[in-house]
């Protein structure tokens, strides 16, 4: 189980992770989402023991990673971002090397490697040099090294990034299979992945938690979030889009001939003022569908990280976990 309490991280004066608390139990798959630079990878690196904890506490199966890093790391499988691997080693040699690093005894190494190879379907490339593998295979090799010692805690930093749809499906199936007896954190910005494999969601923006709760709670936001579709005359469309995207960066979504904006922005007097100043005419319609992308954009807007979210109720994963455990 992973227990994080008031975790913080600073680079110089800049706080990149602010006061994160959460609890992930065996059987849980926590989707760690957020825009680039939100602090996802930094948090995962601290949980994996690669980065020192600046402030707060991280417990892996009850072991404080700052006090007993070696014991805590024994319980963690970590798939880093971009799957860094030594290029000149064969897959077999690399996995055996990792098995040795993991302290798996010489006689059990072969079996451990074979199990991981089978799980990640790497039989075909076992004796190939890593350098010669495709991106998908490299990702799977990195996945195999993470599950080699059958860890109770798995940290996956963008596990399906750069994979084709079939490979993504395979990896997601594997995550679901492993989740039965593992606590998993997945850092991703693919929202489809959250919907398909995660049981919990934690959304970070600017190093702060802007949403935490179950995946069901998160997907419900799709229905709660109201949007307005703006239509413009064809000759003014591009100018209008440019103005609105510059005024409300990251909040606009093009949907065919219309521009979709969340209601709170659509009702902002500044919007009408900007369009009027440019001499643009428009019509609006409230009959438009919202997606998880809209929810994500809405929650991670810069000003949202500074304010509370009146329309959205979030569940504190840390407290929820605590109650469950008690």
């Amino acid at each position: 189980m992973i227990h994080i309490e008031n975790l913080k991280k600073k680079y110089g004066e800049r706080e990149v992770v602010s006061d994160i608390s959460l609890r992930v139990r065996t059987g849980d798959v926590l989707g760690f989402i957020g825009p680039n630079g939100a602090g996802k990878s930094t948090t995962i690196k601290m949980v994996s023991g690669v980065l020192p904890v600046y402030e707060g506490k991280i417990l892996i199966d009850g072991i404080d990673i700052s006090l007993s890093p070696r014991n805590a790391k024994k319980r963690i499988g970590y798939l880093p971002e971009n799957a860094p691997l030594p290029p000149n080693m064969t897959v077999r040699a690399f996995l055996k090397y990792v098995a040795a690093m993991r302290g798996i005894s010489f006689f059990k190494r072969k079996q451990a490697v074979l199990d991981a190879v089978r799980s990640c379907a790497l039989e075909e490339v076992l004796d190939q040099e890593i350098e010669s593998l495709s991106k998908g295979y490299k990702r799977r090799v990195c996945f195999a090294q993470a599950i080699l010692h059958k860890p109770p805690v798995l940290l996956l930093d963008e596990p399906t990034d750069g994979l084709d749809p079939n490979q993504k499906r395979e990896i997601r199936n594997l995550i679901q299979t492993l989740s039965k007896d593992t606590a998993i954190i997945i850092s991703t910005h693919i929202l489809e992945e959250v919907r398909s494999v995660c049981t919990k969601v934690l959304l970070l923006a600017g190093g702060k938690i802007v949403f935490q709760g179950s995946t069901a709670d998160f997907t419900v936001l799709e229905d709660q979030l109201k949007c307005t579709a703006f239509s413009f005359p064809p000759e003014q469309f591009h100018t209008a889009v440019e103005i609105l995207q510059n005024t409300f960066p990251g909040s606009c979504r093009l949907d065919g001939e219309t521009l979709v904006l969340p209601d709170d922005i659509a009702q902002d007097p500044a919007l009408a003022q900007k369009l009027e100043e440019a001499g643009i005419t428009w019509s609006i319609s409230n009959d438009c569908s919202t997606s998880l992308d809209d929810v994500f954009a809405h929650l991670t807007r810069p000003e949202k990280t500074e304010k509370t979210l009146p329309a959205i109720q979030t569940t504190d994963i840390a407290e929820e976990g605590e109650n469950d455990d008690d």
Binding site: K45, S48, V50, P52, K73, I76, P86
Partner: protein, 330 residues
């Protein structure tokens, strides 16, 4: 312990697989093997000339090899992220550092053994002013070529690393080759008419070994220093820093002597702060047939151990707080 050994072994083999390391080794051998030609220009000082030139080539290119090895095994790992992968395992930073130091030092020992064997063979072949034993040189060169062929064959048929296999073949083949030549030339010397041997020079193994051992110590020490500094510098930064240290170590002896006078305690202390390469440079006694005392070799070994340990401790302490995941600084 098995974690440390695996890390060390992997570092060692990774260095041997590095093509640039192999190119430096091959260049050193080619250079040293060309030095017997100097016998034509050195009158009766051929041993001294060849030994000085060979030792300079081995020391300088050994320094380059050490910097390349640390770039392969430390800086590249830090840059491409495999270090993060490694440190997420139950491996402490100090274990990582120590394994890198020992692995790279091992690689430097291999480099030194191969190069020193070649130097000793070249000295052996330089039997007289204006004359070198071409047969010895040709056979030795042929053995080097055979090792290359072995490496190429292993690479072609099994896909194993060419450079690693070539070096592994050279490691026993070249010393054996030297041993055979030594026995043959020594027995030839013994059966020759004493009147004919006057102009021939034969440097005994026992005279050469301490010199070569000191050279090996210097190269190993350079390997340790470059590894320790590689944790804090990028490749160009490390190259510049270590070059300054290397050149400073070459020049510090005379400079300190002129400043403090010879035999001064403070002079001795200051010249020990930088690795004073002059202390490892014992070409002259060999050319003069003077034996190097075992106590001096022992003292230098102790110096390397203590000096290397200080660098490792410094690197270990400073590495604990080093931020490795710089890519997360957005």
């Amino acid at each position: 312990m098995s974690v440390f050994l695996s890390l060390t072994r992997n570092t060692f083999r990774e260095c041997l697989r590095e093509p640039v390391f192999f190119l430096i080794l091959a260049s050193t051998l080619l250079l040293v093997l060309s030095f017997p030609l100097l016998t034509f220009f050195s009158f009766d000082r051929q041993i001294w000339t060849i030994l000085e030139s060979s030792m300079a080539a081995v020391l300088f290119l050994g320094f380059a090899a050490a910097v390349i090895c640390t770039n392969t095994c430390v800086q590249r790992e830090m840059k491409n992220g495999t270090l993060l992968l490694l440190l997420s395992k139950p491996v402490s930073r100090f274990t990582f550092l120590l394994a890198k130091v020992v692995g790279i030092a091992g690689c430097m020992i291999v480099f030194s053994v191969i190069c020193c064997t070649t130097v000793m063979t070249v000295i052996l072949s330089s039997i007289s002013p204006f004359l070198f034993d071409a047969k010895v040189m040709l056979i030795f060169f042929g053995v080097c070529i055979l090792c290359l062929v072995f490496g190429a064959a292993r690479n072609y048929f099994t896909g194993a690393s060419f450079t690693e296999n070539t070096i592994f073949a050279m490691l026993p083949a070249l010393p054996v080759c030297y041993g055979v030549f030594y026995q043959i030339l020594q027995s030839r010397l013994n059966i020759m008419d004493p009147h004919d041997t006057v102009s021939l020079t034969f440097v005994h193994f026992s005279e050469q070994l301490p010199v070569m051992f000191l050279l090996l110590l210097a190269i190993v020490l350079m390997g340790i220093i470059t590894t320790a500094t590689a944790l804090h510098f990028s490749f160009p930064g490390n190259l510049v820093f270590c070059t300054i240290l290397f050149l400073g170590g070459l020049l510090i002896g005379p400079w300190i002597q002129s400043l403090f006078g010879s035999g001064s305690f403070w002079g001795g202390l200051f010249s020990a702060l930088l690795p004073n390469w002059q202390l490892f440079w014992m070409a002259y006694p060999v050319s003069e047939g003077t034996a190097i005392p075992a106590s001096y070799v022992g003292l230098m070994t102790l110096y390397v151990i203590v000096y290397g340990t200080i660098w490792v401790i410094w690197a270990g302490v400073t590495f604990q707080g080093t931020e490795l995941a710089k890519d997360s600084r957005v």
